[in-house]
Each structure stands twice: as C-alpha cells, then as structure tokens.
Symmetry: C2
Subunit: 113 residues, 2 copies
C-alpha cells in the first residue's frame, strides 16, 4: 500500500463526515477492526460496533478539517484535524493501521478535554 | 499522571534537543522502554539502545519545534512538530505512552519521506 493510497483513505474519511455517508466508513474498515476514540476509553471491536459508533457521530452533524500533513509511516498514517460540531470543536490526532488488504485494522484517536 | 505533567515531558523533550542534553532523555524514558522511529523500522529496545539512538540525533544538531497542540488521551500524548536539521526538515507526529511511574514506556514517531 503506497502513501498515495493511504492518504486517499484519510480523504475518504473526511468525505464520509461531509456526506454523512456510513457506507464509506463500512468500506474502509476491516471486519475485525478496532476503534479506540479517545485513547484510554473502551475500544469498539468489530465492524458492527464500529458502525454503531460512527452512526451517532455522523448523525451529530460533525465535520472534519485536516490541520496539518498526513504522516505515512510503515503500515500506518497519523494526521491532525479538527472535529467541528454544533457549539463545540475538538482537535484530535488519529492513527490508522492498515492491514494487507488496505483496510483500516485499528484506529486510535488522541484527544482529551 | 495529569495532563500538565504529560505536557511537561514533551517540553523537556524539546529542551533535550535545544541543549543537546542526553541526561534529559535518560530521565524521561523507562529502563525497558521501546522507541520506534519511524514507525515500521526496527524498534530500539531498552535504555542503552535508546540512548545510543538519541546520542546520534542530538549530535546532529537537530532542533524540535512544536507545530500544534499536545493531545493528551489516557496514558498517552500525541504531538506534531518539526525536526530542523542542517539542510533538512521533517514533520513527525510522536506518540508517547507513559507507565505508572510517569516514564515514557513507548515512543512511536510517525513520519516518512
């Protein structure tokens, strides 16, 4: 998986929020992926739990805006961004780990209040 | 370990490069820590290997400059920064995981060419 393909997944992720399109989320994660958002909280394990988590996030009207370069390293990407919600903004750094099929195997979101 | 203490470690890390002070690096890492820089490369395991790695980095004259917020989440911090070296600049995101004693147990640096 080359850097361009990894960066494309990050852009699709932003697009999923723009369009509130859960199908994009479905397509980018492995069936047995894990999502820990924020790091330190109980992870969402498996695609059903992950889709449940994102369904709420997309329904909230949250939009994403990249605030710096997407860093590609090994089978991962890390990127800083803003989550813009009605009346609230947070600034996470997310890390995606990809599997051999180019699907996100693990997502960790680093942010706190 | 509260957020202020975690952020203080990041600031000490920047200071270590400013002063080319290996003692600060020694003090912030656990004896059995691991450093993977960049992610995807062979990790440096244990404090001796880690000090060997940083000795070269500090001797190169590299300086660090934070380029965004330090994100605190669970027992971790993630932060974007620039490494400024003679004739070269890279823009990593580093993640530190702390142990119960407030020492860095694992460092991962996300960057690529």
């Amino acid at each position: 998986m080359d850097n361009a393909a990894k960066i494309a997944v990050v852009k699709r992720y932003v697009e999923a929020f723009d369009k509130a399109d859960l199908g994009i989320i479905r397509e980018m994660y492995a069936d047995d992926a894990t999502v820990e958002d924020p790091v330190g909280s109980e992870p969402h394990v498996g695609i059903d739990a992950i889709l449940g988590f994102y369904e709420g996030a997309l329904a909230s009207g949250a939009k994403l805006e990249l605030t710096g370069d997407v860093r590609c390293a090994g089978n991962t990407v890390a990127f800083p961004f803003k989550v813009i919600m009605p009346g609230m903004e947070i600034s996470p750094i997310d890390v995606f780990e990809f599997n051999a099929d180019g699907k996100v195997q693990s997502m960790k979101a680093y942010w706190g209040m």
